[in-house]
Symmetry: C2
DNA sequence: TTCACGTATGACAACGATGTCTGAATGCGC
DNA sequence: GCGCATTCAGACATCGTTGTCATACGTGAA
């Protein structure tokens, strides 16, 4: 039936323990013995049973990726990054969607860990900030790394980008183009990044000596519809903005759609900026000026941190990128 | 340390085998005994080790989902559907991206199966049509179900939608609006659905008595850029089409972008139709008339078929939906 | 020559469940 | 009141690896 370590040991003429040593790259195996074992493994097409390794050993060769529904595009990049590093490390990734609003959150995560014996966990936003999950993982002493956490938590490693600086960069870009009245669409209130982007917007205005005007700032919810609604209100102002900076691309697409429906020319009549550089950003017309989050790299790096042998806590910042496309330009009046 | 079945058996005052019986819903356990066991499980917060169950039993409580990079949105829906059904069945999903062009495809899939002992596999397009994968799965006697396969394969179950009929529906919709010159952008040549959609387009024209004109049909590759390029050529024709039907939404977005860049009004100067109803379809301006593929339902149904006890082969068709939005309308000339 | 030590290998128990088999209790018909 | 089928529970082996411990060999120092 199944090819087992025993078959390999027989074929190579050594004990199963020696095969195990080769498999796990342990010391104290003669080079020549190792070669014989490797040859037998290849000849028999042997893949060790994860279940048996997990049961007998201290490692499960599996990590879990916990996420709640962001955009498919975001999740996809996160999965891609985690998966790429996992593969390099010879570890399997268990992608696990969970609902951060669930009552039984801790129990679910605990169950997952008990069932699978995972070696570690990657938390992607907003699971990064679910206190129940963090507490459960700590209680069990499971290693984990957080991607773009909203809350501070010095005890575990994390990777992130600088949302404040990125929003500052974008706002400064608009100011440099000659915009003085810049509308801003806030992100979803539950999301920490929303505050940070808002703060970056204010900081850039301050530095440029432009007064912060609450009327130019509208609440949004990270979705298309809320962007469109915010645009309606902003454009209807007695002194409307010449540019609107939305906290993510979906909302920027909403702004764009509303502008088009009024027959406004983008960017001449209105500049529009987004955030995230999702696929959408290059698929709308005109393509969006936006901030590229290094999502895949964040995920890759997080996984690298999780699986390295050292256990010190690292907080690593990865660089973002201001992507200038044609949805922003000099205002007509300037 | 870890709570095991032994702890549960002690707490409930029965043998471990009896606990196992309750866990696996076997017959021959008195109701009262079952209750005691359930109570102990709950009290101790016990989750059985998947590794141990896999090793000892005939099932692994895991299935694999194999996919190659389609759009993130598509993958997301597939994962979502498979995951939902898996959860209901108490089974874990292993999402596994693979490269259908890889030389070592069969070995990779074989390794996955050996390592994880999966109970079954879900194949999503285009992995559905990788001969190496199909052969390897069959050689090992692993059950699998295919989602939207391109090739016929009567030996295993599959779920799919009717691409021919859907393209026919869309084309007929345009014809009914008064369009007589309808451009068509083909999908990627490697993809079976491309042919089927093309065929549906022709069938609808035939039925309406409109001659098929090769000049109105351009090759595409399912991406934004190819849609845009196709639009350039089609619109430059001496007698340009009044509507363009692209084989997927990404390409339709490309058509839309090019039309905008010429200052054309959509749908007055040009109607644009897509296929798939991805998130994109409602995020561009104007929102796209398109075909909604029941992707999530296909995935859910495939998983249901995979995990049911019967082993007969079923080929199940799920209904699509023509989603009419504002990117299509009566032609100006009509 | 002996001893200690680093290297290389193997025997055996253990991980935490399920499968198989055996045996006891229960209910039923006669 | 007895035998027999039915219903339940437990003992024990087993799955395929790794962890622990024992052992054998070769080498250099005392």
């Amino acid at each position: 039936m199944r090819v087992t370590i025993k078959d390999v040991s027989k074929a190579a003429g050594v004990s199963i323990k020696t095969v195990s040593r080769v498999l796990n790259k342990e010391k104290y195996v003669r080079e020549e013995t190792k070669k014989r074992v490797d040859a037998a493994v290849a000849a028999l097409n042997f893949s060790p049973s994860l279940a048996a390794r997990t049961l007998a050993g201290r490692r499960s060769f599996q990590i879990a990726l916990l996420y709640d529904n962001h955009s498919p595009h975001y999740i996809h990049q996160v999965q891609d990054g985690v998966w790429a590093r996992s593969r390099e490390e010879g570890v399997r990734m268990l992608a696990q969607p969970i609902d951060v609003a669930s009552q039984t959150l801790a129990a679910e995560v605990g169950g997952l860990i008990d069932e699978t014996h995972v070696d570690g966990v990657i938390l992607s936003s907003p699971v990064t900030d679910a206190p129940d999950v963090l507490a459960e993982l700590e209680r069990r002493g499971v290693r984990f790394v957080r991607i773009s956490p909203g809350t501070n938590h010095a005890l575990t490693s994390s990777v992130f980008m600088d949302d404040v600086q990125a929003a500052d960069d974008m706002t400064s870009h608009l100011i440099n183009q000659g915009h003085k009245r810049i509308g801003f669409v806030l992100g979803h209130p539950n999301h920490m990044a929303s505050d940070q982007r808002h703060f970056g917007y204010r900081r850039a205005l301050d530095r440029a000596g432009i007064a912060y005007e609450p009327a130019l700032v509208r609440q949004g919810a990270f979705d298309f519809a809320s962007g469109r609604e915010a645009a309606e209100v902003l454009i209807a102002l007695p002194a409307p903005p010449t540019a609107i900076f939305a906290s993510n691309d979906d909302m920027a697409a909403g702004v764009l759609a509303y502008a088009h429906s009024l027959g406004l020319d983008v960017p001449q009549d209105l500049s529009v900026a987004g955030f995230d550089d999702t696929a959408l950003a290059s698929l709308v017309w005109p393509p969006l000026t936006t901030i590229r989050q290094p999502v895949r790299e964040l995920a890759y790096t997080a996984t690298k941190l999780l699986l390295r042998p050292e256990t010190d806590v690292i907080h690593q910042r990865l660089p973002h990128e201001l992507v200038i496309r044609s949805s922003t330009g000099r205002p007509r009046t300037a």
